[in-house]
């Protein structure tokens, strides 16, 4: 069963980078996830200042804006997709993630199974 772990930073600096991020902790966690053989994919996202929002209006017009920045409280900083037997195991991996501490949070979303 696949689960998406959405890693949200509780606080960001003026560039939209997660604050108080300990690189060695993250490297250790990433290594654990890989070595456990559960990793499907995972990425760390660039600072929010680099984000662009795209919408398409009813007439087909592209609306491209800088952002979403000012209105965002929790900032998505990265994600993992892991393949584990059940929600308890997924919650366990989420709890071990450094992103779950220090005001941040990890949202666990099961990946939809269309019976494929």
């Amino acid at each position: 069963m696949k689960y998406l772990l959405l890693i949200n930073a509780g606080a960001v600096d003026e560039n939209g980078a997660a604050e108080g991020c300990d690189v060695t902790e993250w490297m250790a966690y990433d290594k654990e996830v890989r070595e456990a053989g559960i990793l499907v994919s995972g990425e760390s996202l660039a600072d929010l200042v680099a984000a662009t929002r795209v919408r398409v209006g009813r007439d087909g017009e592209r609306i491209v804006t800088d952002g979403p920045f000012a209105e965002t409280r929790e900032v998505l900083g990265g994600f993992y997709v892991i393949d584990v037997p059940d929600l308890d195991v997924a919650i366990d991996w989420a709890a071990r993630c450094p992103g779950a501490r220090g005001g941040g949070s990890v949202v666990v979303r099961p990946v939809a199974d269309f019976g494929a």
């Binding site: 059940d86 929600l87 666990v108």
Partner: protein, 439 residues
């Protein structure tokens, strides 16, 4: 395995003849539903499927038993019938079956073998079901609804009635919770001993909130409401049988029994709540108190105390005293100190202050209550203001007591609670020399 003896269903062991088949099905079903459901979830890994075939088996029983007679082992008959229906459904729906097969393989990999049938009963997998229904990933209200439905065997309309919400609302809530269990794959298993300290309090909390809901509502104008307090006690007894070594399980059951033992005396003739110090203690259920006291001993021996065990010990001290004045207040204050260290909360601190007032003087209790006046959880807490009113009255300050009672009256509560407060307010207003009309 389907042909094992039915368990001695508690309370329904009377002669079969003087019950109609339908009533017997209901009775057996209520006793067996949790077990059946748990055994089927365990076998098929899917709560929805298990619930459907459980209901189908009961329908089949309702149709067959009046004609064919009640089988010798009704519980086993229901399990066999339900299992056959489930297999039939899986044959018809191959995609569903394939998904369940994957679940089943994973479940078997993750789980130890099911416990052997004890004394010829149906296999009892209910402990895993308790933990699934009370899983922390579910909303708190959903945990309560699922536990009542899956383990207490209540129908959705019964659960809805118990919580005074429309049946459609409750049905939606249960569907949502089951969808989460299935789609997020909330596991069906008993947590390992390393996880238990984290997970067991969640299960106990569900049972205790069922109990307190029943307790809070039983004085209202809803006499026809199902007795949730008794459902909670029934579930706690089941849990205690499944976890005989769980000291907090014993503590919770003790707390419920020692509180429920006062049920006949805690409500006056017009439905108003009677405070503990005014209750007719002769009407307390002394058999229940004795059972509760035995359990308190178990809850408090063999390891550090837990919050339910300590609360039960406090309830036991109240229940043992012939009247309020001769209650062992120093011991109660000491137990509140232990409880505050285990589970700090403003409400516990408030109850401790009231006990201090009884042990020492009303002024001593008032000083403690006033020191926590800014606590956000107490500012709109009716019992806090009612307790302040009581202590002010006893301290001979009726005008202030009246003001506190008025604050309490302005806060939410049931009609009988309001009537009780109004009576106390009238007393201080009528007999208080310092009464100030603008008070």
């Amino acid at each position: 395995m389907g042909d094992v003896a039915s368990p001695a269903a508690g309370g329904s062991g009377g002669p079969r003849e003087w019950k109609t088949a339908a009533a017997l099905v209901e009775a057996v079903f209520r006793e067996e539903r949790g077990r059946l459901l748990a055994a089927l979830v365990r076998r098929f890994g899917d709560l929805d499927l298990a619930e459907e075939v459980t209901s189908e088996a009961v329908e089949a029983a309702l149709a067959r038993w009046p004609v064919d007679g009640v089988p010798a082992r009704p519980g086993a008959w229901l399990l066999t019938t339900a299992r056959r229906r489930a297999v039939g459904r899986l044959r018809r729906d191959q995609a569903y079956a394939a998904r369940l097969a994957v679940l089943q393989v994973e479940a078997e990999r993750a789980l130890p073998a099911p416990p052997a049938d004890a004394d010829g009963d149906l296999p009892d997998e209910r402990l895993a079901l308790f933990f699934t229904c009370a899983h922390p990933a579910l909303a708190a209200e959903d945990r309560v609804a699922l536990t009542l439905r899956c383990l207490a065997g209540l129908t959705t309309p019964e659960v809805a009635r118990a919580f005074l919400v429309p049946t459609a609302t409750m049905a939606q809530r249960i569907v949502r919770a089951k969808k989460k269990i299935s789609q997020a794959r909330v596991p069906f298993r008993v947590p390992g001993s390393d996880e238990l300290p984290e997970r067991l309090p969640g299960v106990l909390q569900v049972l205790y909130s069922i109990f307190t809901e029943g307790y809070a509502a039983s004085s209202g104008p809803h006499a026809q409401r199902l007795d949730l307090a008794e459902e909670a006690i029934r579930l706690a007894r089941v849990l205690r049988r499944l976890m005989p070594a769980g000291r907090e399980v014993a503590g919770l059951l003790a707390l419920m029994l020692l509180t429920h033992a006062r049920r006949a005396a805690r409500v006056g003739p017009t439905g108003e709540p009677v405070p503990l110090d005014e209750q007719d203690r002769g009407r307390w259920d002394h058999e229940m108190i004795a059972e509760g006291r035995d359990l308190v001993v178990r809850a408090l021996t063999g390891g550090p105390p837990g919050p339910y065990g300590v609360q039960a010990a406090i309830a036991a001290l109240h229940d043992e005293a012939p009247d309020a004045a001769s209650t062992d207040w120093p011991q109660i204050v000491a137990l509140y100190d232990v409880l505050l260290a285990l589970a700090p909360s403003p409400v516990v601190a408030m109850n401790r202050a009231v006990a201090v007032a009884m042990r020492d003087t009303p002024e001593a209790g008032l000083a403690l209550l006033d020191a926590m006046a800014d606590e956000p959880k107490l500012r709109a807490h009716r019992p806090y203001h009612a307790a302040r009113g009581d202590l002010l009255r006893r301290a001979g300050r009726p005008a202030e007591a009246a003001a506190a009672y008025r604050v309490a009256l302005g806060l939410a509560g049931t009609d009988p609670e309001r009537a009780s407060l109004r009576r106390r307010l009238d007393e201080v207003v009528l007999f208080g020399p310092e009464y100030d009309r603008d008070g």
